[in-house]
């Protein structure tokens, strides 16, 4: 941390009016977008899964103007970052606004990520942005059907046991998971200082 030459540029909120810039197709604007919730085409190898969830505020009210971003490995644990051996048909990045869905959910159709290291559990990095949030939040999605791997995951182990459940997506149907993001309250999601 020593010897930094340049100070970081401060963060600001994404604000309420991001949709025609960041999620234009999803919201029906005449513009393109770099990524959406359809992360994996059907022929992509791996277990195809759906993850849905809502972002909930202090009062448990659903946030209808959040953006949620996913970053993950493919089913074989490969990251498509251009340096490691990625999968050219899978960018590993998804982006969804919570506005268009009738229940203000985010809906990601993707493949279940493989492990990035032998001691790590399959997981998805999540970035959360919204009006009212001055700096984005980082969290992680783990899976409730990976109990053995979760038990040794080094990041999950740094989280107090009483709060680990907030990071684990719950199976609600075959290959379909639920992951709600609670900004506050008894079930406040664990957010990381990444």
């Amino acid at each position: 941390m020593t010897g930094k030459l340049l100070p970081q540029t401060p963060s600001q909120t994404v604000g309420p009016y991001f949709a025609y810039g960041l999620t234009a197709v999803q919201y029906g604007y005449a513009n393109t977008q770099i990524a959406d919730g359809a992360m994996a085409e059907q022929s992509l190898p791996g277990t195809h899964i759906r993850i849905t969830g809502r972002v909930l505020d202090m009062d448990g009210k659903v946030v209808p103007d959040a953006i949620v971003e996913f970053w993950q490995a493919d089913s074989q644990g490969r990251i498509a970052d251009g340096k490691n051996t990625g999968n050219s048909r899978f960018t590993g990045f998804g982006r969804q606004g919570t506005g268009p869905d009738p229940e203000n959910r985010f809906v990601f159709n993707t493949v279940k990520p493989g492990k990035l290291a032998p001691d790590e559990a399959p997981c998805i990095a999540v970035i959360v942005l919204m009006r009212g949030l001055l700096s984005h939040l980082y969290t992680r999605i783990y899976f409730d059907d990976e109990a053995a791997a979760n038990a040794t995951d080094p990041v999950l182990q740094t989280v107090p046991e009483s709060r680990r459940a907030t990071l684990i997506a719950r199976t609600v149907a075959l290959n379909e998971y639920r992951f709600d993001i609670h900004l506050q309250g008894a079930d406040e999601t664990v957010f990381f200082d990444v």
Binding site: M1, L5, L6, P7, Q8, T9, P10, S11, Q12, T13, V14, G15, Y17, A19, Y20, G21, L22, Y27, Y29, A30, T32, I34, A35, D57, M58, D59, K61, V63, D65, W71, I79, A80, D81, G82, N84, T91, G92, L116, A117, A125, I127, L129, M130, R131, G132, L133, L134, S135, H136, V155, T158, V159, L183, Q184, E188, V190, F191, F192, D193, V194
Partner: protein
Amino acid sequence: MTADNSSKRDWETHPPYNFPAYTSSVARSPRQPLIPIKHRLLERSAPVYGHESVGPLDNDLTKNGSKGGEPLGERIIVTGRVLDEDGRPVRNTLVEVWQANAAGRYVHKVDQHAAPLDPNFLGAGRVVTDEEGRYKFYTIKPGAYPWGNHANAWRPNHIHFSLIGNTIASRLVTQMYFPGDPLLNFDPIYQSAPVGARERMISDFSLDVTEEGFALGYIFNIVLRGRNETLFEA
């Protein structure tokens, strides 16, 4: 060198999550402290959105929303470099921008401000940095607009920026402001960043960037978290 040495978010630079002067931050900020984690591959990597992700008009907001005419307002050029904390250029990285039109109105459907939409202006663009980390786009100077945060509240002129950079840990969403804007003194979003840091979000007017007879020029340099850790990984 281990991931322990990766750069952290500088909390003397960034706003606190709960900043009551910005009313909506209260209900939408976490109460538990963030839990620090060592960077692993997931945090040390990022998706690749290079030149192939940008269309030919994406860097010209004066043209990319045109329905055959020119947008109204003051044409400007915004350029600058995206650098890491060691001053190295962040190359081939995507910069996404969006903004209000000259009248202070966003195309977004939830914007109810009674100012006119401009049929020739969308207000969103994308550009990829070059080998020196430089980006440049043409647009219209955005107008100020009222909002509901407090009595007689107005947002200063600003352009929203979204970048990911070399790793998802360097993700930054920020706003670029304009020099000399009197509304900065009254804006809780701008003021949520600490004194000494918030000024980094104000662009500089530049006569060198200004194109004679065409458009005023502004420089906005962006410093993303992180250093080129791959140098140390071998």
